[in-house]
């Protein structure tokens, strides 16, 4: 062993330690909650999630203030041998969204997942709180890891947390949904893993930054990109690979559904964005991007029509997620235009904003739907009459979330739609604009269908609507309001998204 003090290379940016903290905190929380068990898991989770929230804010602030990306070489080992954590604007925005939605889910979950008695451990609470912490670890890792294999582990971590969340209630149909989700996601992971093997075989590194310098157009890269994209698309449930999403998201408990729809599908989507725009910048040409967008368009139309045809509220929301995922993919041909151009920057920003906006809005809608289902004892849309009068707060949250999905100003959805429409106009690809607008109409259709039903007068024959606790309703409403005001708040994140993206000029989006 070489003597001397500076044996191990030192780590990068001191602010980069924040990234470590964002991953370490929930992991430590997970271990602690599991080991103390009993009824204390909830308190541990809330404590560590609050810490995570502060860290997320600090990361956003650090990136915003410095205007460049953060990075951290773990153990002082620099890539390609070591693993680096890296946070650019995209990851910071996603991390903030995660902290926000996970925090909301935790507050919402308190009423459903409290320990049965002080100090008594029960299956559902312990699982929920530990899994909630693990989900945070997995997501933060996905946002920050700079290594394709660590990202694979993170993806698996995410799947392993999401699957048990689906079947917390232990009914046969949710178990079946979870199993189906698990197996399909596993197939997707393996395809992704194959791609990383091919990339390593060609370039001898899995570090995103190094790969982006080394990647050249050649068969290994095409095959790897195709396999990884297909795998990630399967995990994101893009049509026609959405088989697992509706039963899983509709069957899970409301808090879990909110988490799954809002964040979990965004994990693999984010990875896809990383892959296309960071690992392979400019490499995948128009044709594959258009293929993805075509699938997205099919998802928008199919998901929306099917949402309209659902008889159950949670299934409707789940199919709406299928449609909204489709929107996310419309950005690929728009953002893979001439790199660095304002059109591409606008499209990328719009796409990410759509992801964030959908995250908050959909979480609010699932929570509101959960409150309604709890109070009604069912979630049949036909039997919703009177809900608006009995649970005005939840109904308002649902409506506001719906309005954000539809894209009414000043929601983030509006700004996202505006940016994407502008990009499609400016790049001459008006057909994607037509898809977005048609999808928007359908969205109006299913949101109004629910709101209209709920505003009706209750039949005397229907059972009485039980009052719902106020906390859950308030959390849902707060999230909905945030998603509605995101368009105003997002003006700063608009630029934040582009921080640390050398391939894309930091320009105004309009």
């Amino acid at each position: 062993m070489t003597p001397g003090a500076a044996v191990l290379p030192c780590a990068g940016d001191p602010a980069g330690a924040l990234l470590v903290l964002a991953i370490v905190l929930p992991t430590a929380g997970f271990l602690l909650a599991l080991s103390v068990g009993g009824g204390r898991a909830e308190r541990v989770a809330l404590l560590f999630l609050a810490g995570g929230f502060a860290v997320a804010i600090a990361i956003v602030a650090a990136i915003w203030r410095s205007g460049h990306a953060l990075s951290y070489a773990l153990g002082g080992w620099t890539p390609p041998l070591g693993i680096a954590l890296r946070a650019d604007g995209l990851s910071a925005v996603m991390a903030m969204t995660t902290a926000l939605v996970v925090g909301a889910v935790a507050l919402f979950g308190r009423q459903n997942f409290a320990a049965p008695a002080p100090g008594v451990e029960a299956r559902v609470p312990l699982s929920f709180w530990t899994l909630l912490l693990a989900v945070t670890t997995a997501l933060n890792l996905i946002w920050f890891a700079g290594d394709l294999f660590s990202l694979y582990v993170a993806l698996e971590l995410l799947t392993f947390t999401a699957v048990p969340l689906v079947c917390l209630d232990g009914r046969a149909d949710t178990l079946e949904a979870a199993l189906r989700y698990m197996l399909f996601a596993l197939m997707g992971s393996v395809l992704y893993l194959l791609g990383t093997a091919l990339l390593y075989s060609a370039y001898g590194t899995l570090d995103i930054a190094l790969l982006s310098e080394r990647v050249r157009p050649e068969p290994a890269v095409w095959t790897a990109a195709a396999l990884m994209t297909a795998g990630l698309v399967a995990k994101t449930a893009l049509f026609p690979l959405h088989l697992w999403l509706p039963p899983a998201h509709a069957g899970a408990p409301p808090a879990a559904s909110a988490l799954l729809s809002a964040l979990v599908v965004k994990g693999s989507f984010f990875l896809l964005v990383r892959l296309w725009f960071d690992v392979l910048p400019g490499l995948p040409s128009r044709a594959p991007a258009e293929l993805l967008a075509a699938l997205g368009a099919a998802a928008v139309l199919m998901g929306s029509v099917l949402a309209l045809r659902q008889a159950r509220l949670k299934l409707l929301i789940a199919y709406s997620t299928v449609a909204q995922i489709g929107y996310l993919f419309l950005m690929f041909p728009l953002a893979s235009g001439p790199a660095g151009g304002p059109v591409a920057a606008g499209a990328l920003t719009g796409g990410m904003l759509q992801a964030v906006s959908h995250a908050t809005a959909k979480a609010a809608m699932f929570m509101a739907a959960g409150v309604m289902a709890g109070a009604l004892g069912h979630d049949r849309i036909a039997g919703l009459a009177g809900t608006a009068r009995a649970l005005p707060m939840s109904m308002f949250a649902f409506g506001l979330g719906g309005a954000a999905l539809i894209g009414l100003p000043p929601s983030g959805g509006f700004l996202a739609k505006w940016l994407l429409l502008t990009a499609s106009v400016q790049s001459g690809q008006w057909w994607w604009a037509a898809v977005m607008l048609t999808g928007g109409l359908f969205t109006c259709g299913y949101v109004f269908m629910v709101v209209g039903r709920a505003m009706g007068e209750k039949d005397a024959s229907e059972p009485r609507i039980i009052a719902a606790p106020i906390t859950g309703q308030a959390v849902a409403l707060a999230l909905a309001v945030i998603s509605m005001l995101l368009g105003l708040a997002a003006l700063a994140p608009l630029d934040l998204v582009l921080v640390g993206r050398p391939t894309l000029a930091v320009v105004a989006c309009r």
Binding site: F160, P164, G170, A172, V190, L194, A197, S201
Partner: protein
Amino acid sequence: MTGATLFGLCAAVLVGLGLYGAIVHHLILRRIVAFNLLGAGAFLLFGVVARRGTGAGMGGDPVPQALVITGIVVAFSATALAVALLLRLHAVRAAEDADR
């Protein structure tokens, strides 16, 4: 042709076989088995990559080898979770059938 290339081709075929099995089988347990087959194919590909990267007196590149070790453990966890889900599903189904 070297042994590494041979096993690389073998891995490619294993991936195809695993995917076929995972898609076509109607029994879920068989799908899980096929998934393990598929995963082994992917790991083998890493192994081939490692073997090709000999150097510095090592029989192979240690990095992909380490990745495979991690991957095998992750795949085992996945299998354990999937099998547990499957068994629970059958138990619940059986209980529901008995109720009916």
